[in-house]
Amino acid sequence: MDSFLKVTGIDKSFGAVRALHNVNLLASKGECIAILGENGAGKTTLASVLIGLYQPDSGEIKLGGTPVSVTSPAKAIEHGIGMIHQHFSLVGAMTAEENILIGLPSTKRGAEARARIRQLCSDFDFNVDFDIRVTEMPVGMKQRVEILKALFRDVSILILDEPTSVLAPTEVAPFLKGVRKLVANGCLVFFISHKLDEIREIADRVMIMRHGRVEGVLPVATTPMAQMSALMMGDKPTGETVETPKAKKARNDTSSAADALVVSDVCLMDPGGAEILQDLTLSVKAGEILGIAGIDGNGQTELSEVITGLKRQTSGAIHLNGTEISSASIAARIADGIGFVPEDRHAEGLVLSLTVEENMAFRSIGEDRFMSGGLISRRAMHEIASDVVAAFDIRPPDPKLNASALSGGNQQKIVLAREVARARNLLVVVQPTKGLDVGATEFVQNQIRAVAHSGVGVLYISTELEHVLDISDRVAVMAFGRITGVVDPENTTLQDIGLLMTAAPEEVL
């Protein structure tokens, strides 16, 4: 079989960290190769080398038999290589069309181009609002714009970095269908993912990476999932055991517990007058995990912000342990022991130019454990961070590194570690497992379970339905800024939840 893409001996180091180690790969047009690996295994680095964001220290890339030097993403596009990143590269102040056509000569931006964009949209069943700017879009829609941007440029190699992690469950199937259509048309698709079932569904072959090396490139159809997982995890001990339903029952016997959080009739209007939250009511008992399921952009983020004080509700009340905090400042709510893992860890949860240890402390800096004699104790900060880095297996294990030097999964661990330690009464987590691999997801879930076990109420907001069902004691489904139903995760079907997620409130109530 003629190989369209041939990658030989790619090495890439960042300082002392060897991100890629002698990576070899042969791939043909019209196939889909999944790249599987833990956080920090080198998947994104390899992709970045292919699209010219990074230059390899050594090694060669051949396209159709000729060596190419991909020195920039623009060059990559010339060679027909495109990538959709985990963190989007869109201009917030522009509309979808402007973003898709950005950088093209004006002759290619006419009505014809616009028509083609809409055609692509309907080909792939993408719901994109062409009238609003990207900043106003929910995350899922932003990603669809990113994908359209690459499709519009006629790429022959498309790299998708965790593409489904932000999609609503109902959007995943049509999306995968679209990817298959691309493959059938002769496109070579790299599909970076943690989700074995998706890989199973979409990929022809799977390339498994660990610590910057390729552990194997195997046909998906004949390789058992267990083998993939074993190659990915290596010989290290697997994570703690998943909580058994019985243990969950024992933990979630919170019927007699007091309410940690009560949200009553909360409404939130955006400046344009649209109702983001409508008469939303819910309660979380101490020690209980209440899951919020829902399609991305139905008010979940805003709900978390209203509870933590980042947004002020238009009307309605919020009580923490029976005390009204409806108009308390963010700082007051922090002092009240509300931990918050926000959705956008880069823009909000972390300060990338600060060190890991400063990031572990910045939201808790006035607390006694970080102070000594009225001043910030840099030593305490370092010691606490060192412990957390060890406990959470944050890599590289150096609390004095800048947070920007860490991979996405490790950055997420910093945020989680900080907020778990802070949450005395309530922990609000939004998309805590976004972009995490199987092992890291399990680790995060166990940390959250431990917090609940210690008597803290947890509000777990995520679009990854299986994770919500797995961890929650009760699941509230959100749609159109309302809770459309509260279900018991043990005795409910996906179909029911799907209905609650998508049905208009009038039909459900």
């Binding site: 963010i330 700082a331 300060v351 939201r363 800096i365 910030i376």
Partner: protein, 361 residues
């Protein structure tokens, strides 16, 4: 970009600026090594030259801190010059209105008055920035001209000394004059005061929650909000501190050097402060060094001209290159170059303008 690479980049920028200056000296027909040697020997190793360097470095250091603190909160204070003028005015008015206090009380009170003046001048753009979203660069910049003219009016009118041939005020009483640091020279204790402020601010940023929070706002405003920091108050606090520092630089010029309030008394020190701040990569503890460097350049330029024959305007070119190259060195993929370069280029222009105005006067 971590601190180390940043400092290395700044060092490279400095060396490049000096090298280009060296080429210009060479084109002018002189030996650049000789010229630089004279310049640095004269400004740092000669008693009188170093005294002159310290005199210039004192207001530059405070003006530099007056840029650093607001910038660490994400606010660009171009208004140091105006805050120096209003600070000098408040200090002088206090000193002239209550001339009979003992120096031990009088001098601190003059500093407090000057700090209040500078803070007041900075409070206006700070309020507009925090509560009205007005661009602080434009407001602080334009308020400089207002301040300069207010002082010109004051010393040409109500404060004009009897029989003065030039717009200046009466002398402040001897008890209020800053002690001299180097005997027989003009060098007062102003730089030592600046060093003390430097240390205080460095520790404040690093070891107090309020300082840490201020820094947080400048690094990532959304993360700061998420950490419960009140952004508006922080912006105002940072500007008030900056204004106070610049105001005290004004007091130092009045009661340390000239003993009167002069028309156009600041030689563009507020703008020099921007160079000091960026050269120090916004780290207060480095600011004394960068202030000395910049002051040495400008103090040694004249001597270099006399001794070697190189036109001192070469040093202006070097200063200009320092500004541009350091700004370039500070550009990271995450900062928009335009936001740093533009005001710096403007700063250079304004400095020239002030100097010209002064010469004409």
């Amino acid at each position: 970009m971590n601190r180390f690479t940043m400092q290395r980049r700044i060092a490279i920028a400095l060396l490049s600026a000096l090298s280009v200056g060296g080429v210009l000296i060479l084109l002018d027909g002189h030996n650049p090594f000789e010229a630089y040697k004279v310049l640095f020997l004269e400004s740092f190793l000669n008693y009188w030259g170093f005294s002159n360097t310290l005199v210039k470095a004192s207001p530059m250091l405070l003006a530099g801190l007056a840029v650093i603190i607001p910038m660490r909160a994400g606010v660009f204070n171009i208004g140091g010059e105006g805050q120096i003028y209003i600070g000098g005015l408040f200090g002088a008015v206090f000193a002239l209105a209550i001339p009979d206090l003992p120096g031990l009380f009088g001098v601190p009170l003059i500093f407090i008055a000057a700090a209040a003046g500078g803070a007041f001048w900075a409070a206006i753009p700070a309020y507009l920035k925090a509560y009205r979203g007005t661009n602080e660069v434009i407001v602080t910049l334009l308020m400089n001209f207002i301040a300069i003219h207010i002082v010109s009016y004051a010393v040409a009118g109500p404060l004009l000394a009897e029989g003065a041939p030039y717009p200046y005020s009466e002398e402040v009483s001897e008890a209020y004059r800053l002690p001299i640091l180097m005997p027989r020279s003009d060098t007062h204790v102003g730089f030592v005061f600046g060093l003390a402020m430097t240390v205080i601010l460095y520790f404040w940023l690093r070891f107090t929650p309020s300082g840490f929070h201020l820094d947080l706002v400048g690094r990532n405003a959304r993360a700061a909000a998420y950490a419960g920091v009140d952004q508006k108050k922080t912006v105002i606090r940072a500007m008030l501190i900056g204004g106070s520092l610049a105001g005290m630089a004004g007091a130092i010029e009045v009661i340390g050097l000239k003993y009167r309030l002069f028309h156009l008394f600041s030689d563009g020190y507020g703008y020099d402060g921007i160079v000091v701040a960026f050269l120090a990569a916004l780290n207060p503890i480095v600011a004394p060094l960068t202030a000395l460097f910049l002051a040495g350049l400008s103090a040694g330029a004249g001597t270099m001209q006399r001794a070697v024959g190189v036109d001192s305007s070469v040093i202006e070119v070097v200063e200009g290159l320092v500004v541009v190259l350091v700004a370039a060195a500070l550009v990271t993929p995450r900062t928009r170059p335009i936001s740093i370069l533009k005001p710096l280029a403007r700063n250079l222009r304004l400095r020239r303008q002030t100097q010209r105005q002064k010469k004409e006067a």
